[in-house]
Subunit: 322 residues, 2 copies
């Protein structure tokens, strides 16, 4: 599906997942045009990529349609990973998810249409299922009811991709991620907990009651899955859950983190079933579809959390940037 | 649910369905603030309303958030019916559905939030189901895949309403309409066919192969259903299909129209299963939910089509405006 002779466009290329994807694609010899406004990404994640002659970086915003259209000239495939990726805080600034996720995705699709580019992979989220009735949740779960502005904005993005597939003959891949862990991870509970414990190893404040059941996937496994899906699917519209075959409680994660750091913090909970407005007390995706394409993850959730901690231990500068 | 002492806000109030709703609510003694940019509506639909001291008209656009915020002061309930309501032509101007439906709906919700208004009814569409796998299609049908920019924009609007219900404690009613017929109907197949036959009674050009199976509902029945739903539901998020318990082929409709007009036109078909990009060859909604609330339609599809024709025969000025 990916053509080694033609540029591949990656939005949000300085972000956690996208920068890992860029490094992977460059290692395979692909030509990459990376596009990012550096609002939440980090230029240092592109240190290696920037030395590679096959990599071009464009510092601009997906809300700037003119720049997008110009930057996509000659491109054959788009990975659209630019997003506001934090499901929390949606209610603090209700227009952020709409702009950065929904309108941003529309602009990416329009820039593609105007450049006659027809293939796109999109990072969606298990949050589009809302509080799913069926767990593990398959791709064709019952019609979802959104519980967060983030989920709503990603669902809107998915809908736009599908409409472009039907209306403009695009070929699309929608990946519904669980939370991703690993190198360059720079927001989420492992980050927050590690930062708290660095500041004061004796205590840890936990959003919710600690019993939320969550799913995580290691970033390398995530990228493997995307590549396998692109190679092994032929539909016009491909929608694929990505996650491990397990979940953990937030309390499990706290225990693993504490053990790894050799700490025994006193825990305090904000006390409710949901850590924040729109938090989902149980996320667990049915991943039979991607497994049936020949993928399986190399790392468990626990291993992913430990790898993330090791990365943060070796990159403490990141904690001060956020 | 509706408070007779406090203003009710109706967006798109000069449109087909909304102007009928305004007349109904005024007849029951409600106080109405109507808001419309008159882009597709028609001021003459508000001729009676405008004489009523309980009616205030505001000529502005839902894309103007400042005007919306000011206009909603003191309002208790919002009917959000302003929209680009034509499922065809989405691919001609891809940003229209995004702006008028998705961003417009976001603005309505924001204006409500800023005015501390928490109750909203929203006109969505059976098009959000895409080409449904289950027919008749229930509200909890499998996760839909969008086939039109119109459907995608309405799904995005639904998602925003649900996110506001969860994030800001709104109470919401989402009505998924089939095509609506009746007085003030001013776009769609009956309108197009009647207009063609007025010009040349000997022939009729039909989009698609005529075998598309479609559902229709008479506007008076639609408004009855909305009122019954508002009175008889208590959930924070209420999602309700509205349609009759039948469907017809486009060819059935052509026969009824021809009989009523006493014509026998030569038919020519564009020939495909879908009349336009994003057209759905079979729309038929499961309406058990609204029926179980005590509603049933007074008119069949055929009767709705005849009533629409009679309205158009008596209001030929409308044909020249479009």
């Amino acid at each position: 599906m990916l053509d080694i002779t033609k540029p591949i466009f990656v939005t949000g290329c300085s972000g956690f997942i996208a920068s890992n994807l860029v490094d992977y694609l460059l290692s395979k010899g692909f030509i990459i045009v990376g596009y990012d406004n550096l609002s939440t990404g980090n230029m240092s994640f592109l240190k290696d990529a920037s030395k590679n002659p096959n990599f071009t970086f464009i510092d601009s915003d997906i809300l700037n349609l003119d720049d997008l259209v110009k930057s996509m000239q000659g491109v054959d495939f788009v990975f659209h990973l630019a997003a506001n990726a934090d499901v929390r805080f949606g209610t603090d600034k209700p227009d952020r998810d709409l702009k950065q996720n929904t309108i941003g995705t529309f602009n990416v699709l329009e820039a593609m249409r105007l450049n006659n580019i027809k293939k796109i992979a999109f990072s969606s989220t298990g949050s589009v299922y809302g509080e799913a009735e069926i767990i593990p949740t398959p791709e064709n779960a019952p019609f979802p009811i959104q519980t967060s502005l983030y989920g709503a904005s990603k669902l809107a993005g998915e809908g736009l991709l599908s409409a472009y597939a039907h209306g403009f003959d695009f070929k699309i891949w929608i990946f519904r991620f669980v939370s991703i862990l690993g190198e360059r991870y720079s927001h989420g509970h492992v980050f927050d907990f590690y930062k708290q414990l660095l500041k004061d190893p004796s205590k840890l404040s936990v959003l919710g009651n600690g019993k939320q059941r969550k799913s995580y996937l290691y970033v390398g496994d995530c990228i493997d899955a995307i590549m396998i899906a692109l190679e092994n699917t032929k539909e016009k519209v491909n929608i694929i859950n990505l996650g491990t075959d397990e979940y953990c409680e937030v309390n499990d994660s706290i225990r693993w983190i504490s053990e790894h750091l050799n700490l025994n913090p006193i825990l305090s909970y904000t006390g409710t079933e949901r850590g924040w407005i729109g938090d989902n007390p149980f996320i667990f995706l049915d991943t039979n579809k991607i497994r049936n394409l020949g993928w399986k993850p190399k790392y468990t959730i626990k291993e992913g959390i430990i790898k993330t901690l090791q990365y943060l231990e070796n990159n403490q500068w990141l904690l001060n940037e956020k």
